[in-house]
Symmetry: C2
Subunit: 147 residues, 2 copies
DNA sequence: GACTAGATGAGAATGAATTGCAATATCAAG
DNA sequence: CTTGATATTGCAATTCATTCTCATCTAGTC
C-alpha cells in the first residue's frame, strides 16, 4: 500500500539516473517511472498512460511511448513483445528473469533460474557474443490439478 | 540450389498434414509452405508473400497472414515476435531452439541447447504448467575479435 | 458436372506505435 | 530571480503491420 504518487528514495534515484544520462527530469518521466515502480504486473503503454495520468493529468500517449523508449535505451526498463498483443513493460532489476505466459488466461508469472541464465551467457560466449538482454517466454498450459 | 517451386517428398508431406487437419490443400498454402521450406532465414509475412508469388502469382497478403495463422495453429510453423519489427516465421522441426539476435546488424543465429530446454520443462512443471512453446531470444553484441 | 463449405482477393478498417510541429518547460548561466 | 537555449511535450496526422468484410472462386465430394 505504498503511495506511488509521492517522491521516495527509489524514485529520487530515477531522477539522478536521468540527469546522469544528460536527460531532463520532467514530471511526465517521473510519473511514468513511479507508475512502473509501483506496478506489480506488466502494463502496456496505454495502461501506463492511464495510471500515470493519476499523478500528472494529461500526459499524452506520444510522450508515454517516447519516454518508454528513452527509459529502455537507458536500461531502466524492459520491454516484452508478446505475440498478438501490445508490448508490455517493467522496471528492470539487474536480474535476468523469464516469463511464463498462461495460454489459458494470459497470466504472466515470473521466474528466476540461475542455471538458465548461466546457459544464456555460455551459449552467447561460445559464438563470440556478449549478452545484452535475454527474453525467455514460456507459453504454457495449466496442468490438470492433482487429486 | 534445390528448386523451391516443385513438389517434393517434404512438401507432399505438408499436403497430407493439411488434409489430416481437415483443411483444404490450396495452391496458396502449398506455395507458402514451400517458401518457408526453402528459406534459410526467418522471413516476415511480406517477405514470404513476395517469394511465394514466384510460384503462385498474386497471392494476396491477406491470404499470407491467414495462412500463417492457420499453419501456426496447426503447429507446422513458428512465429517469432521480435522487438520493433514485424513478426518472423520459420518451419518448425520438433526441436526447441533459441535465437541470438545480433544487436549490431540484426543477424539471427539459431542454437539448440538441451540443458536449456530441460530447464524450461522443469521450471514450468514446478509451477504446475505444461510447456506449449518456448521463445528464447538472446540479444547480444559481437565481442571484439581475438587478435 | 453440380453442390457446398471453405478459401481467396481486393481493399477498407483497425490498432499500436511514430512523427512533425508549434507551444512549453527544464536548467544552466548571468 | 530572470533569461535564453534547447530538450521535451501535446496534439493531430501518419505510418505500418495485421485483421476484417464480403463478393467471388475452388477443392473436395457425390
Ligand atoms: Mn498488465
Ligand atoms: Mn529474413
Ligand atoms: Zn518480468
Ligand atoms: Zn529459428
Amino acid at each position: 500500500m505504498t503511495d506511488a504518487l509521492e517522491p521516495s528514495p527509489k524514485t529520487d534515484g530515477f531522477a539522478v539516473m536521468l540527469r546522469e544520462a544528460g536527460l531532463r527530469v520532467t514530471s511526465q518521466r517521473m510519473a511514468i517511472l513511479r507508475t512502473l515502480s509501483s506496478a506489480e504486473d506488466h502494463p502496456t503503454a496505454e495502461e501506463i498512460a492511464g495510471k500515470a495520468r493519476g499523478s500528472d493529468a494529461s500526459i499524452s500517449h506520444a510522450t508515454v511511448y517516447r519516454t518508454l523508449s528513452v527509459l529502455e535505451e537507458l536500461g531502466l526498463i524492459r520491454k516484452l513483445s508478446l505475440e498478438n498483443s501490445p508490448a508490455r513493460y517493467e522496471l528492470c532489476g539487474d536480474d535476468d528473469h523469464g516469463h511464463i505466459v498462461d495460454v489459458g488466461d494470459g497470466t504472466i508469472i515470473e521466474f528466476e533460474d540461475e542455471a538458465m541464465s548461466a546457459r544464456h551467457q555460455a551459449i552467447a560466449a561460445d559464438l563470440g557474443y556478449e549478452v545484452v538482454r535475454c527474453v525467455t517466454i514460456i507459453e504454457a498450459r495449466k496442468k490438470p490439478g492433482p487429486v
